[in-house]
Amino acid sequence: MASTNSDAAVADTKPFDIVATYNELLSSDADLTMPIAAIEALVLLLTQSASSTISETLDLLEKSTAHLKRSIPNPIGLSAGTDLFQRYLITTLQRPGQLGPAGDFKAIRTHLLSNGRLFIRRAKESRDKIASFGRGFIRDGSTILTNGGSRAVAALLQKAADDEGGHSAVRFRVIYVLSSTSQDCNHPNEEPEGMETVRALRSKGVPVATIPESAVAYSLGKADMVIVGAEGVVENGGIVSRMGTYQIGLLAKAIGKPFYVVAESHKFVRLYPLGQYDLPIEQQVVEFKSEEDLAEDCKPQSIADTNGDTSIKLPLCDSVDFTPPRLISALITDSGVLTPSAVSEELIKIWF
């Protein structure tokens, strides 16, 4: 009863659209990751909302989070951020003292907001931290195979390239796997993701080879290690990442090359997938169709477009897969280089 009231109140007084804010944040800042964008959107929501009690704040937060998760086709990445923020809020409120339940709510709110911003700033810096941790993995004369458009990987590789000519001249080569699926997506003319990184590396004098996904097994013999990014790191130490990462992991394992994952620790998600099909998102990757189905698909195109539900399905170019922990040699995060099994330890530390 109370919830519907507050919901109505929010809708009436503040036409704040969390989903739009989130999307706007993501598109405005290329360096922003999904969890951070989610946190920033929530902080913005709190600054604009007129909530005056703790439970009202928590309620609002919960609703907006649920709404956000529903509206985004792949909420795995952002859920790491929203969970983290919610957890942080609750622990702050539970702490005794001025900011605890007994304290002045205004003070609590300003504290929360300022800390939220601080968190966002820190999260943005974490990529540099990862780069400094991971730099040691890139040795002279090594060849690195990577894929996707991970900014953390790009930061790491560029950091290593920057050092070249400096005190520790690291000469390395990069094999960049360019995804073919991203081309035939919404923007057919756009170059595959990762080309920006390729150009940046080449400009720094790093020899880069670009290969299609089908050539991974062929090229892996020439690589010394695989470094990939991740959208989310799950509880058992596996990663949810751009489609195609799993097969690279399997191939690396088969050929015996180390497989490293670069991820910020705010990407740790409280999620425990048991396999590829156990992810909480709907992906249309494997679709069986006969001639009849194809003919039918052409007809009701207009109806499907008007239907709001279709937007929730993940387009093929944004689809993800799950790389189980046994394929991962180590995770390079801003809290250090972790084995997959240490991820759950880190998560438990955050949550309890």
Binding site: E235, N236, G237, R270, Y272, E345
Partner: protein, 538 residues
Amino acid sequence: MAEPSGPAPIAQASASAPSAPGQAQPATENSPKALPIRDSKPTKPTEDAPASTDGATDKALTPAELKKKAKAEKAARRIREKLEKEGGAVASTTPTPGAGAQARPPPTPKKDATNAGSAQKGPRAPPPRRGSGPLAQTGSVLVEQKKKKDDKKVAVFGHLYGQQRRVTVAGATKEVHPAILALGMQLMDYTICGSSARCVATLIAFKRVIESYTTPIGTSLARHLTTHLSYQITYLSTCRPLSISQGNAIRALKLFIAGIDPSTPEASAKISLCEYIDSFIREKITVADQVIADSAAQKVQDGDVIVTFGGSSIVKHTLLLAHNQGKRFRVSIIDSRPLFEGKSLARDLANSGLDVQYSLVHAITHAVKDATKVFLGAHAMTSNGGLYSRVGTALVAMSAKERASGVEIPVIVCCETIKFTDRVALDSIVVNEIADANELLPMGTPVSLVVRDPADAYVPPPPENKKGGARAPAPESPVVPHKTSSSPLANWHDTPNLQLLNIMYDVTPAEYVDMVITEMGSLPPSAVPIVHRMVTNL
């Protein structure tokens, strides 16, 4: 059982220590006849509980009797030693160093022996002076008897036999509370079985103990109650070795008792203790089970074929919850002898309208063939991520992982954090529990099982046929206990070179477990030590 006679067996040669109570007996009776009598007991297959009669004589001994027994044993051993040294020639002239301390002239051993309580020995006393023949015989009988006993212990597991299990309440010390006596009986005949159930039952019994406890004058509750409880604990552990969960609960309770302010009035201290126990049960088991069932049920999907082993209560909760949530899946229960814990699970699930398939563990490859997930209960989770559970669990987990058809089946363990331990288990040999080998005989099942089995084995099939629909469990029939009295194993005690091993648990290595669902969330098995540390620090 061996404890009350502590000093004597310790002084004894270490080799004979483990089987002290058993071998001591003939010495007390001190006639060669004692041996056949003793041996004949376990061999009678028609008796309901051969073990109980056998054990009753063991347990019926009061501490005083035990003392006597020990003395007699000591005497017999001395004489044996003497015989070995002197070849049985001149007994009195060169006393062994040990005997020298007591410096007994020839009549004295006779007197000792009479003291030792063997009534028949008194009249026969004079002969020993001359030849010490009968006594020498006793010695050899002892050796023979020992060999015989040891033969029946499987060598690798020898260290696990240590304590004979208690079979009756007789011989319990006066401090043991009736509630504990009752619980002990229920534990020893598996009426209360399963790690959580044992833990809850123990805590409830302790509540009764605490309610009827009065602090003796001159001591404080915080100090004395712990010792009072330790009598109960010792008694319980003689009925059946304590489970990890029981141990953890007892540790928490003792810690709480030690934290009680000595100045607290007894009544309020008792009330706070009872409240603590209640909240402990609620938090660690009742609510924890609900949380676990909730999150485990989320892992059940439409069309799943779920394999489970034995009769874990939490797996039952999970499956029932998933069924109530409207998920459509099949359950394949793997069961094994001798406890047949899966039968009641099969019955309960089928009665609730689930599709159930029941088979024994030797049919595992068939059951695993079309499985999609494995749900397992746990007795304990060890710090290296190993799953310590009913024997056969490892077989199921490993078959699921190593299935030939390629795709791995996730193995999910449902386990409360109260069952976590800081121990490490590398194999199933070092730490385990050995139950009475007679349970392996069709006839030798404990009284309770004989009582329970017909209800479980004979009654369910008709309801399952009705309610379980078309998927009535086909392999049910071989499970029905045979009532034939001539089991080839019946007189295994007397059959040379035959050993029976009734082991209770096994360890599934961490790499065969994909996920552990606890009330603190889902973890990989490698996170067990962290969570355990966190839970115990709280």
